[in-house]
Amino acid sequence: MLRFTDEHEWLRLDGDTATIGITAHAAEQLGDLVYVELPKVGAKLTKGEAAAVVESVKAASDVYAPLSGEVTEVNEAAGSDPASIGGDPQGAGWLYRLKLDDPSDMDALMDEAAYADFAK
């Protein structure tokens, strides 16, 4: 299941764990990324709190936790090569995996068509 937030993040659910990244639209708006700060594995995140930071040359942007849960894995490759995120933000450029407190929270998020309409 692929879902999107109004903060321009995407989540792909596999079991009770969601892989999370920034949308292609967000990556396009930010431009070339030069630095990424990822959460720590094991960190407990509450929906809405700053989970990661992505920085372009011109600005730093917070990436908020779209749902509550525990970080199980981070994308070290993206962390060490931030520029690679822009090339495939909704695939190889994922940021972290979150074991959701309640996977049914996904249902409240936008599907691809709704997000495409939102990001217009």
Partner: protein
Amino acid sequence: MSWGCPMSPNAAGASSPSESISVAPPLAQTPLHAFHLRHGAKMVPFAGYAMPLQYPAGLLQEHRHTRRAAGLFDVSHMGQIVLRPRSGEVAEAARALEAVIPIDVLGLAEGRQRYAFLTDAAGGILDDLMVAHLPGRLVVVVNAANKAADTAHLRATLPDSVAVEPVLGGLIALQGPNAAAALGRLLGHPADLEAMRFMDVREVAIFGAPCLVSRSGYTGEDGFEIAVPAEAAEALAEALIADASVLPVGLGARDSLRLEAGLPLHGADIDPGTSPVEAGLAWAISPVRRSGGARVGGFPGAARILEEITRGPARRRVGLRPEGRAPVRAGAMLFADAAADEAIGHVTSGGFGPSLEAPVAMGFVPAALAAPGTRVFAELRGTRLPLVVSRLPFVPAGFKRG
């Protein structure tokens, strides 16, 4: 996620892009507005103008291309002001201007320009500028955000015998190691242009339009700034980027280029709260205007500024290299060590330096901590990160001085 705050405090969109759209008055357009749209620029509000933030090549490539080849920048938003003595004697305008800037203008030869700043009575920097000596007049180029205030200040302080005339027109910067070759190819290699050195100024006809060309810029590279009549600006810009070595470059890369070059931005690194000596700009204050000089003082804030030249300022603008990968940006507080409670200063500009492939910043620290190699700490998202005080510029300048 939240889009971060771009550019400088001078930007009309200083708080957030959406907010600036709702509250800002309609944006002015430069003579190159259609050029920017045609070449796919992402436009942003800046100092009341719609300006290109970047083109499709993107900020990193635009930055690197300027260092490696040449970049074309629209700087038409900046203020061009002619100071014309009614007597025709430029010395009269020079003498009058010396009453508001601590620079030797009387000694500025025809065909040359100098870096200068307007100071206030407290010794703060109202604006920084370039002043050029042309036949029968001085030409001043000031920051976009300050041009109305500067024009009013000059009108209020210069005598009636010197007319203060804002110029509406295009201003195009061509910057980079290939800039001279590209401009030369376009103009058929005129000898007077080829002979220009750093800070020379020439009146040149380009495609029949009277232009003012200076060999200067804001990137740390060799290059030119070309004042061109508005109606001729677009044709000139198109002709310049038709050269394979020239890429259009937006405000984003202009900011990262000047940051790497250690050049201060008014409204960020310097402002009325900073003195020229604190800001490391005392080099521009001519010996003739200093203690012991023939025309010592006589400019606003002279007492403080001359005192600081003699005794040294309490704090200094320095270059800062974060030891890690995280950019440290304007506003970050600086501390003497990882645990100190009291901030010792703050970062005034900072970001990622594409040519250095590392974060770079500038800020103010107490004079005792201003020596290169000194370690200080910046607070970033609740963590103290180490930075090393570094010499400016971060990248060597490519000016044609010879």
